[in-house]
Every structure is written in structure tokens, then in C-alpha cells.
């Protein structure tokens, strides 16, 4: 990370393409290790960038253990802060054909911040079925939790201040793989 040394300078690259790739490889193995294999695992990406991350994790795991189902879960309709912002368009929710009952659902998101998105996702899961367990994988944990939620798998822990923003950019959505720390625009 050549740019990271510049300290307070913004925007700052926190993770390069290679860092992201290594982090996902490690998380893939950790998921398999913790669950003693890939059986019964369902990856659910949280839009938007959690979805490509979940797909990458799935292909990562497929190289070791074979295919596992991947879906997406848009928790927008379950958020507690809907009234604080303008109505937002919905992203896609798709549940794998075999459902999530008695499976271990691994929620995948790009950045873990307040934890409110994950809370909404947990509520949304209630309406989709009853998984045997739910785990959480995030590429970046930037702290400032407002709810008692913790990730099971973390790509990188980044201490941040509240006026900074962590932007995960992925080839699928942004044309480039990197994680950037920027000052929040006023």
C-alpha cells in the first residue's frame, strides 16, 4: 500500500486489489473452517456491494469445497431509519431455490458501521425462513457500532473518525478494486 504511508492525507487507499483478494481468500477459508466444510452454507450479499463480494466468496469456496448457494438480501424495507431519509429505490432480493431453512446463512456486506443495516437484514431473514445460524462477513469494519452486533469474519479493521467515509470500490460496480478512506463531503 504505497499511498497509505501518507497518514492524514485524504483520500487514502486502505486496501488494494491484491489486499481485497487476499482478505476474501482468508475469509473463504475461515468460513469453511468454522463451519467444518461448506455443507448447508448459504451466502447472502447485502446490496449493493455485498452481492459481488458474496459471489466472489462463493467462487473462492467452490475451488475447495464445491458450489454453495448465493443470494442477495435488500433490507431497505426493514430499516429503522427510513423516515430520516428520502425514499430510496429498492435493490434486488433473491433467495436461492432451496431456501434458507435449517441452513447457515452468512451475510456479506462491504462495510460494517453502525450495525443498523445488519439489524434490518436479520429482521428481513425472519420473513424468509428460519436459518440454523446466521454469521456476518464484512470486508471492512470501521467501528462506531450503535447496536450490539459484531462480525464473524473481517477483511480489515480500520479505526476511523465519524467524519470520514470508507468507500469500497469493486470491479463489478465501480470498475476498480480498492478501498478508499475519504473525508465526508459536507
Amino acid at each position: 500500500m504505497p499511498h497509505a504511508a501518507s497518514g492524514e492525507q485524504h483520500p487514502r487507499v486502505l486496501m488494494s486489489a491484491a489486499d481485497i483478494s487476499r482478505a476474501l481468500t482468508r475469509i473463504g477459508f475461515q468460513i469453511l473452517e468454522r463451519n467444518k466444510g461448506g455443507k448447508d452454507i448459504v451466502l447472502m450479499g447485502i446490496p449493493r456491494r455485498g452481492v459481488p463480494l458474496a459471489r466472489r466468496l462463493a467462487s473462492q469456496i467452490a475451488q475447495v469445497e464445491g458450489d454453495i448457494p448465493v443470494g442477495s438480501l435488500d433490507p431497505t424495507m426493514y430499516r429503522d431509519d427510513l423516515r430520516l431519509r428520502p425514499a430510496r429505490p429498492l435493490e434486488q432480493t433473491s433467495v436461492p431455490a432451496d431456501g434458507i431453512d435449517d441452513r447457515v446463512v452468512v451475510l456479506v456486506d462491504d462495510v460494517l458501521f453502525s450495525g443498523r443495516t445488519v439489524r434490518a437484514a436479520l429482521t428481513a431473514l425472519d420473513d424468509l425462513g428460519r436459518p440454523r445460524g446466521v454469521q456476518l462477513a464484512v470486508l471492512v469494519d470501521r467501528g462506531h457500532r450503535e447496536l450490539p452486533i459484531r462480525p464473524d469474519y473481517v477483511g480489515k479493521n480500520v479505526p476511523t473518525s465519524r467524519d470520514e467515509s470508507v468507500q469500497v470500490q469493486l470491479c463489478e460496480t465501480d470498475g476498480v478494486d480498492q478501498v478508499v478512506l475519504a473525508r465526508e463531503e459536507p
Binding site: M77, R83, P86, A87, T123, D127
Partner: protein, 311 residues
């Protein structure tokens, strides 16, 4: 989007957002638990000065699927039948804390008046005002066509029948034009509104000439209750010249679909045989109506109470 009063007010991105949101609503409700918590604690009032089963039930179901509380005011059996004015009714609803008012009224422009007269702070959805507009019907028609035909740009839609009394036709023409479709209105000259030449569509008087190139055909209901004069000699003549029967169904291309906003006059604008054929998507339209109205209520009520718009 503050209110949904007419299809004319919509921009293309707004219309696309509404249709895409309805598509997501389909996925969210296609499962065992159909209810979503999104509008919990919000109150939606169905204010119907005119009779309606399907539209009112559809809005009611849409609001309930989103966990909103629903109150139905209909003309029969309420103060509305005692001659209360729109204004006094509006002030009553405002005092009760309505967050959204879905209004149907026999006077064109009633929804606009309700939204802009300063009587209520609620979001207003036009569920049909006189012979003016019925935007959610147009949205559900476009949604249904899009599901069968894909993107509507360049598609040909033929709307047949009583255009003069139809708020559905006006909303449909504007919305379909916005989405890039080519619309042709067909009907007897007596049932074409004044000024139709300024609408963004073609007008024709020959059904048989238009059907072979249509991707979708919408049959309008002959609105006998609004007719105070005779616009055509007899029911049989209307049915023969403009009704959709098996022969005319055969003129349509293989992929073309048949729509009807309901309620149908079987034997008048559409024969029972066509209405029950697999080309007719009329029952599907009803189901799609709930999805589209969920999308409308979500986009109007799901965000801030302020005038902020969608991103």
C-alpha cells in the same frame, strides 16, 4: 415525488423507478410471509366518492402488505352521502392524522384540489378523477406489458373503445408515450375526446387495420353510466365494429397480449371467449395492481416527511 396525481406529471426516471420498485415488490411478496413492516404506524385513507371494488381493495391490500393502517371512506354509508363537501371531509381526515389519502371522485381535478388547496398535509394519490386521469391503472398496465414484452420503447399499443369517458386511456397514453411506446387510439368518432389530436398518440377509427401490428391491445370499458346521450346506435353495432372477438384476436401477432382495466362488459367490448383466452392478461392485471400500488405508497411514504425526493 410528493403526490401521484396524473401520469402527465411523471418524469421518465420516476416512472421507471416506480415500475422497478413494483418488480421488487413482486419478489418480496412472492413468499410465505407477504407482509413487510415498512409503513408501520402510517395511516392510509381510502376516500372513495365513486363506487369501486377493485381499485379500493387493491389499495387497501397494498397498504396492509406494507403494514400501514387503512381507513376506508366510501360515499355510501358515510357523511359523504349526507352532502359533506370535499373540503370538510379533507379537514376531518387531516385532523385524524392521515399520512396518505387515496382519492376517487367524479369531478376531474378533485385529487389535484385536495393535494394543493392547503387543506391536508398528507400525500395524495389519485385513484381516478372524473374522466381525467387514473395514474395507478396506467402504471399497472405498463407494468403488465413490460413483464410480457420487455422494455416498452418502440412497442405498439392499441387502445380501443370509449376514450371519451376513460380516465384510463388518458393516463395510459401519457405514460406509455413517456416510456417510448407508440400508442394508437381506436374508437367511434363520437367517443373521441375534443383535443385528442394534441395527445401524444395516433387516432384511428378502424380496429381491423391496427391489430396486425399491435404488441398489446387494451379494451376500454363502455361507460354507460357516464353517457347522457347516445354515442352509438346500439350495443350490438358497437360490439360488431369495435368489440374484440375471436376473429379479431386472430388478427393480432402471436406474442400480443390483451388487457382490460375492468370491470368488463362481456359481449360488449370483449367477448367471453377472448376474455377467458390465454392471450388475455386481465386477471394478472389485478395482481399487478397491488404490486404497483405498494410501490407508489412506498415511494410516497417510505422516506422523510419533508419534500425531499428520491435520489
Amino acid at each position: 415525488m410528493q403526490h401521484l396525481l396524473s401520469a402527465v406529471d411523471l418524469t421518465a426516471p420516476e416512472a421507471i423507478t416506480l415500475l422497478d420498485t413494483a418488480e421488487e415488490m413482486a419478489r418480496l411478496t412472492d413468499r410465505a410471509i407477504k407482509k413487510l413492516p415498512t409503513l408501520r404506524g402510517r395511516t392510509v385513507v381510502n376516500l372513495f366518492f365513486e363506487d369501486s371494488t377493485r381499485t379500493r381493495t387493491s389499495f387497501e391490500l397494498a397498504a396492509k402488505r406494507l403494514s400501514a393502517d387503512v381507513i376506508n371512506f366510501s360515499a355510501k354509508g358515510s357523511s359523504l352521502s349526507k352532502g359533506e363537501s370535499l373540503k370538510d371531509t379533507a379537514l376531518t381526515l387531516e385532523a385524524m392524522g392521515a399520512d396518505a389519502i387515496v382519492v376517487r371522485h367524479s369531478a376531474s381535478g378533485a385529487a389535484h384540489r385536495l393535494a394543493h388547496a392547503g387543506w391536508v398535509s398528507a400525500r395524495v394519490v389519485n385513484a381516478g378523477d372524473g374522466t381525467h386521469e387514473h395514474p395507478t391503472q396506467a402504471l399497472l398496465d405498463a407494468f403488465t406489458m413490460r413483464r410480457h414484452l420487455g422494455e416498452l420503447a418502440g412497442r405498439r399499443v392499441v387502445i380501443v373503445g370509449d376514450v371519451l369517458h376513460s380516465r384510463v386511456a388518458r393516463s395510459n397514453v401519457h405514460l406509455l408515450d413517456l416510456l417510448g411506446a407508440e400508442v394508437t387510439l381506436v374508437g367511434p368518432p363520437t367517443l373521441m375526446p375534443v383535443g385528442v389530436e394534441c395527445w401524444p398518440c395516433r387516432v384511428s377509427y378502424e380496429v381491423d387495420a391496427e391489430l396486425p401490428k399491435a404488441d398489446a391491445v387494451t379494451m376500454l370499458r363502455v361507460q354507460a353510466e357516464r353517457m347522457r346521450a347516445s354515442y352509438f346506435p346500439s350495443t350490438r353495432e358497437y360490439a360488431r365494429r369495435y368489440g374484440l372477438d375471436a376473429h379479431r384476436l386472430g388478427l393480432l401477432p402471436e406474442h400480443a397480449i390483451v388487457l382490460h382495466p375492468g370491470p368488463m362488459n362481456r359481449g360488449m367490448e370483449i367477448t367471453a371467449e377472448v376474455a377467458d383466452s390465454d392471450r388475455a392478461v386481465i386477471v394478472e392485471q389485478v395482481g399487478n395492481g397491488v404490486l404497483v400500488r405498494m410501490a407508489v405508497l412506498y415511494l410516497l411514504l417510505g422516506g422523510t416527511g419533508a419534500t425531499g425526493d428520491q435520489r
